[in-house]
Every structure is written in C-alpha cells, then in structure tokens.
C-alpha cells in the first residue's frame, strides 16, 4: 500500500468566523422513558473534521442518526447552511448532501465496486443500465480520493480487504455532491496499515472542503485527523472545541466523568469555540 500523499499541513479551509455548515441547537431525543440526548449543541464546519467521542451509551449513535435522518429530534433545531431543516429520512439527508457511512458499511458482497457505489441510484440509458458512464464516474471518484489499491473497480466487494471496503463505502458517500459525511467507527475493524489509509482518506475529504464527522472510540485516530473534538457524556455535550485545546487525558476524563480535572469544559476563546 503506497501512502505518500500528504494533506497540506494545518489545513483549515474554513477561515476564522466562517459559518458552520450544520448547526445543532438544543437537540433533545428520548426513547420512551430513556432520555438519550439533552439539549445538544454542535457545529460542523466545511473543510474540517470533527471527532465525536463518548463512552458506550453516551448518545453518539443517536446523535449521528438524528443528523442522518433516521431519528427525529423531540426538541431543538437543525440548521443547514443557516436554514432550519427537518431531516425526516435518509433521502432528505441525501438531498441536503449529508451521507452516512455506517459501521457495517452496507455493501453487497456479490456486487462489484461500481455496482455498490451506484446502488439505488443507477444511471440508465434507453431504459437499460448505463454501465460505462457509471464505471467512469466511479473510477473518477476513486482516483480523486486516491483509492488506487483496488485491482479493478469491477471486482466484487467480497474480494476486497477491510480497508478497501471502507474506502469504497466512503467513496460511495462522497460521490453525490455531498457536503457532510458522517463516519461511524471507520477504523474499528481495521489493521494498522488499513487504518492509516482510511485516515488519509478522511484527510483528503477535508481537503476537498467537505465537513466530516468521525465517531470513534480510538483517541489516536481522533487526534490524528480531527480539527475539532466534541465529547458526549450521558447524552450531554460536555466539551466541544478545537482539537488543540484537548489532549488524550482530558478527553478521557470528559468521556468518563463529564469534566476534566474536576472542572467542566470552558471554551478558551469565543463562545462558538473558534480560536
């Protein structure tokens, strides 16, 4: 696996004071008697990777699914490009440019890479599948993401390694003019080399100006790629700011106790968390 390409150092396309692509304000969500999210605020910026951390049951998945249109918040408002939006389904999310890569990837093993990337959105020509055009588009997307380790984009997904599958799933998500990509535990099942390539892929998404949210248990990965870090603790957003304001120790404390050094998180500069 050749991984020589490097993201420009300190890439932070969103200039100071840039408006977030997605703003969550006061999101509440409960399932029956169980409250999963309490008034969660979160900003996601274009060209930035936000690492969402939290222990099991902290509400990471619920929050992700709320943005992805699977769950609907009981209270609160989601703003997309400053417009209030109601995301009622995965289709609504896609229409806005929000794509989610779930942990189980949702790829059909028996279909090839192109077929998987276009599943449900096949292009037709005279009523029949337009394989050539889809193949070209898929190849182009994969090459701009520099996913070049696959032998042929016509090989079945069953023959791919875990990292390659993750790459295909990510490429599938970004092919549709997406503006925000949500990645659920993208490196959980991967080896060292494959993790490396997926992290590089995430950086390339950021460099293309996409907003990326990575949900991860692995703090190494988070600190490797994240420009911002957000920590959920028992359904509350206990910390949210530039990655530079955190270290491993503090994130672990926020995740396990909701505070660091006994004190709640204080944004260092402005209220919005921008430095």
């Amino acid at each position: 696996m050749t991984e020589v390409n490097e993201a420009p150092k300190g890439a932070s396309p969103a200039g100071d004071g840039a408006e977030p692509l997605v703003k969550l304000r006061g999101i509440d969500k409960h399932f029956g008697p169980v409250q999963a999210l309490y008034g969660v605020n979160l900003d996601l910026y274009s060209g930035q990777v936000t690492g969402l951390c939290g222990d099991n049951g902290a509400g990471k998945s619920v929050l992700t699914r709320t943005i992805a249109g699977v769950h609907h918040p009981d209270a609160g408002q989601i703003f997309f490009e400053d417009r209030p939006v109601h995301i009622r389904s995965a289709r609504d999310a896609s229409a806005l440019g929000i794509e989610t890569v779930y942990q189980d990837l949702a790829l059909a093993d028996n279909l090839d890479i192109v077929q998987n990337m276009f599943l449900g959105r096949e292009r037709l020509r005279r009523g029949l599948l337009d394989e050539d055009s889809m193949e070209k588009q898929a190849a182009e997307t994969l090459s701009t993401l520099r996913v070049t380790t696959v032998r042929s984009i016509r090989q079945p997904v069953a023959s791919l390694s875990g990292g390659q599958r993750q790459s295909v799933a990510v490429a599938k998500a970004v092919m549709w003019n997406s503006k925000l990509v949500l990645l659920d535990e993208p490196t959980a099942a991967l080896g060292v080399v494959q993790t490396r390539s997926v992290l590089d892929l995430i950086k390339r998404l950021r460099d293309r100006g996409l907003a990326v949210m990575v949900i991860s248990h692995n703090l190494n990965d988070v600190f490797e790629v994240a420009d911002r870090v957000a920590v959920l603790y028992l359904g509350r957003m206990v910390a949210d700011g530039p990655a530079a304001e955190f270290d491993r120790q503090s994130v672990v404390e926020y995740m396990t106790t909701g505070t660091a050094g006994g004190r709640p998180y204080e944004p260092s500069a402005s209220v919005s968390g921008e430095v």
């Binding site: 696996m1 995965a90 289709r91 896609s94 229409a95 779930y102 189980d104 949702a106 790829l107 059909a108 093993d109 028996n110 279909l111 077929q115 998987n116 276009f118 599943l119 449900g120 959105r121 096949e122 292009r123 037709l124 009523g127 029949l128 599948l129 050539d132 193949e135 070209k136 588009q137 190849a139 182009e140 997307t141 994969l142 090459s143 701009t144 070049t148 380790t149 696959v150 032998r151 042929s152 984009i153 016509r154 090989q155 079945p156 069953a158 023959s159 791919l160 390694s161 875990g162 990292g163 390659q164 970004v174 092919m175 549709w176 003019n177 997406s178 080399v193 494959q194 390539s197 293309r208």
Partner: protein
C-alpha cells in the same frame, strides 16, 4: 434524488481514464474478471486464478455435460446416445427443466425458494391447452391462450410473493403450501384424475402450440437464422468492446471477443448440422432445428437482459447479497420480491406449455409429477451454477443445468436396465446435485477470502 453528475474532481477530467489504465497495469492477474486483462495471456491467467478461488462460472456444468455425453455414448448399447435423433430428443426432454430452472433463478438469487414452480407450470400448461380447445373450450387464438396462461400464473406467483414479501413468511413454507394447493387444483381444472386434454393437430390454431416443440425449421432457414444471429451477436460484442476502449475503460482483448464469436458460430453450426440430419425414415423425412431451440434462446436472452442490464435485475442481486444494503439504498424490497415471484411463475407457465407440446400435445395427470418437476428444476438451476444462498447465478446456468439433467435422465433410459432404470434416474441427478451444492458452498468460502491490501 436523481443520479446527477457527482463531485467535481480536484484533478483533471482525464484523471479517471489514466487512473484505470494504471490500475490495470498494477493488476497483473487476480480475482477480477476478464475486465482487467489486456491480452489473451493475461485473460487466461486471470481466469485460472478465478477458477481456483471458486468463481468457476459455467465451467463445471459444461464439463459435466461433456463427461455425461462421453460416458453414455460409450456405455449405451450400439453407442446411441449421441445420435442426432437422440440429441434433438434430449433437448426437447430437457426443455421443461431448462425453462423451470430459469424461472427458479431469480427466486434463488433473492435467497428464496419456490417449491410450487412445477405445479404452477402444469397449471399454466393445462390452462393454455384448455383455452385453445374447440367445442367445450373457448377456442381462443394460440397467442391469447398462452398470454392468459402466463398472466394467470403470474398472478398466482404475485400472490405467493406477497405472502413472502409483506408478511415475511418463509418462502419455503408459502410455496410448499402452494405446491400442494396447486397440485390439487391442477386435477380439478384438468377435469378429474383420469382426464386429459389434447391438441388437435388438424386445427392450425392448436397445431401451432403442438409445433412449438415438435415442429422444425427447415435446414435452409435454420442456416439463415444462424448467420443472422451470429452477425448480430458478433457486431454487438465488437461494438461494445470498441466503445469501452474508446471511452478509456478497460475492455476485454479483441482476440477474446473473436474467440467468443467463433465459439457461438461453431456451436450454432454444430446444432444446425446435427438437426439437419434426417431423424425420420427414408419415407418420411424429419429434419431441421426444432422451434423450441430458438424459443429457449430468446427466453435466455430476455432473462439475461432483465437480470444483467436493468435496475430491477440489479436490485435482485443486491437483495440476494445484502438485503440491508439494498434497503438503505432505497430499494423497495417487497416490490422486487413480488415481481420476481410473478415473473418466475409466468416463465414456469411457458415451461408447462412447452412440456405439453413435448408430450405430443397431450396433458393428463400422468404427464408429469409436479413434485419431481420442481425438484429437478431447482437441482438444474443449482447444478448449472446458481447459488442456493442468493446473489449469484445467471439465466444461462439454468439452461445448462437443465440440459445436464435431461441428458442423464435420457441416458439412463437408453441403458435398458429394467427395474434399475427408475432408481438411477433419481440417484444420478441426486449425486450431481450434491456435487453442485458442494461446489457452491466451497466457492462461497473461497470468495470470502481476502486478497490483502
């Protein structure tokens, strides 16, 4: 959301094309299909690797057909198996298995099973035969009668499919009930256990259905049709290859296309030559390609087109591979499942009509046992290479599997084994089916292996 053009690439527009050729160079020869190979040698190597990983395609069943043909030719008295008259008869005998195996294919691709195929096929056949009857029958034109049989059976399939798709009752149970139910209804519409329905070959309208299997195309017309088919298939393949190459996509080497076209021509010519031999006597000449061969070919072509080149077909494979992925992609699983059961049963109805034609236009309760019919058909599909676990297989696999089953059945009957003959007609296909399923399971395991980063 419509499939509009995706992200603007950060590179140039040419990036896609250059990348692919680069890819193919890196690719040496591995699991991917012919598409990575730029030369015949590369193709062969890629193909061998594919074989070893279990993606053997039609090879095992073609090999099995060759072995069966050679073995029966050697052991049958007077070495009669490969006589032209017998070969044509075997095709006619196999027709119902081929068509029913094709009907079973989309169901198996969905990782479901349809046990009612045999009974539904017989119902379709009897309905078709009844509707062209004069006197007590309505004397419908043949095409309307066939269409009615297809539609009625399609509705039967849709109903069973709805139970499977909407209530999620296992298809095994739904269609087992359907099998029993329709086996009974079959006797009712036939008019009782001892009844039969016959085609009157003196009536042109009824004779048309009789001729579907029994009638022949004259040798000269056969040759003309063959030339037209080879030219059409050949030019389509060449056009497709050259288009892909011009668009900068990896295309199979032209040599390979030439070999494929030559194979089609050789096999076609072989069939026409065999069928052009006089199968009758010196007094009454019987020669020419039976109509049923082009009928089966058109059916294969249609199912191949539907499965490989339409969204509906793609979704069948997707559901068979990973229903959750299909659902998240916005595919309506119930719609695809119901349509598949409907189209499958309609195809089966055509198989039933061809079966009656093969039996010289007579349908009785002795014509065929719906249970044996469906088991042979599922066996044919699986032997041909359709996976029992869903997501893998093509229409052509059912045809080859059906031919193998028919060949074995007829070969055994040629052996004059007396009381041994019937048991062998079950035992041999059983053994072949077991071998086919073993290959299926092993290839699934092989395909699951990871090729490294």
């Amino acid at each position: 959301m419509s499939a509009d053009s995706g992200e603007k690439p950060s590179g140039t527009a040419g990036a896609g094309t250059t990348d692919l050729t680069l890819d193919a160079k890196v690719a040496a020869a591995d699991i991917p299909p012919a598409l990575v190979a730029q030369s015949l040698g590369q193709y062969l190597r890629a193909w061998l690797v594919r074989l070893r990983t279990g993606n053997s395609g039609v090879l095992p069943v073609v090999l099995a057909i060759v072995i069966v043909a050679v073995v029966f030719e050697v052991i049958t008295p007077e070495h009669a198996f490969l006589r032209p008259s017998n070969l044509v008869y075997i095709f006619g005998l196999s027709t119902v298995y081929m068509v029913l195996a094709m009907a079973e294919t989309p169901i198996l691709l969905l990782a479901e099973v349809d046990l009612s195929t045999g009974a539904v096929a017989l119902i379709g056949g009897v309905i078709g035969f009844k509707l062209v009857q004069q006197g007590p029958g309505p004397n419908w034109p043949w095409w309307l009668a066939i269409l009615a049989a297809l539609v009625i059976c399609g509705v039967i399939g849709a109903l069973q499919g709805a139970l499977v798709a909407l209530l999620r009752i296992p298809s095994f149970v739904v269609t087992l009930a359907g099998f029993l139910l329709f086996s009974g209804i079959l006797i009712v519409i036939l008019g009782g256990a001892d009844s039969s329905v016959n085609l009157n070959t003196a009536v042109p309208n009824q004779n048309f259905i009789y001729e579907m299997v029994q009638g022949n195309i004259t040798p000269i017309v056969s040759w003309i049709i063959l030339v037209v088919v080879v030219v059409a298939v050949g030019s389509t393949m060449v056009l497709r290859t050259t288009t892909r190459r011009r668009e900068g996509l990896v295309a199979p080497p032209l040599g390979l296309t030439a070999i494929k076209i030559a194979l089609v021509a050789i096999i076609g010519a072989g069939v026409v030559i065999i069928c052009s031999v006089n199968r009758g006597s010196s007094l009454r000449v019987v020669d020419g390609v039976p109509w049923v061969i082009p009928i089966v070919l058109v059916l294969v072509g249609l199912w191949t087109l539907v499965l490989q080149r339409t969204r509906y077909g793609r979704y069948i494979y997707a559901i068979g591979g990973n229903p959750e992925a299909a659902r998240r992609a916005g595919v309506s699983l119930p719609a695809i499942r119901i349509w598949s059961f409907a189209l499958s049963s309609a195809t089966a109805a055509l198989g039933g009509i061809l079966l009656g034609s093969f039996f010289y236009g007579e349908y009785s309760t002795n014509t065929a046992d719906p249970g044996q019919l469906v088991l042979y058909s599922i066996a044919a599909a699986v032997i041909g290479g359709v996976s029992l676990f869903g997501g893998r297989g093509k229409a052509i696999h059912g045809v080859l599997g059906g031919l193998l089953i028919g060949g074995i059945a007829y070969g055994v009957s040629l052996l004059n084994l007396g009381s041994l003959s019937t048991p062998l007609e079950y035992i041999l296909p059983g053994g072949v089916l077991l071998a086919a399923v073993a290959i299926d399971v092993l290839s699934r395991r092989g395909a699951g292996s990871v090729t490294g980063v």
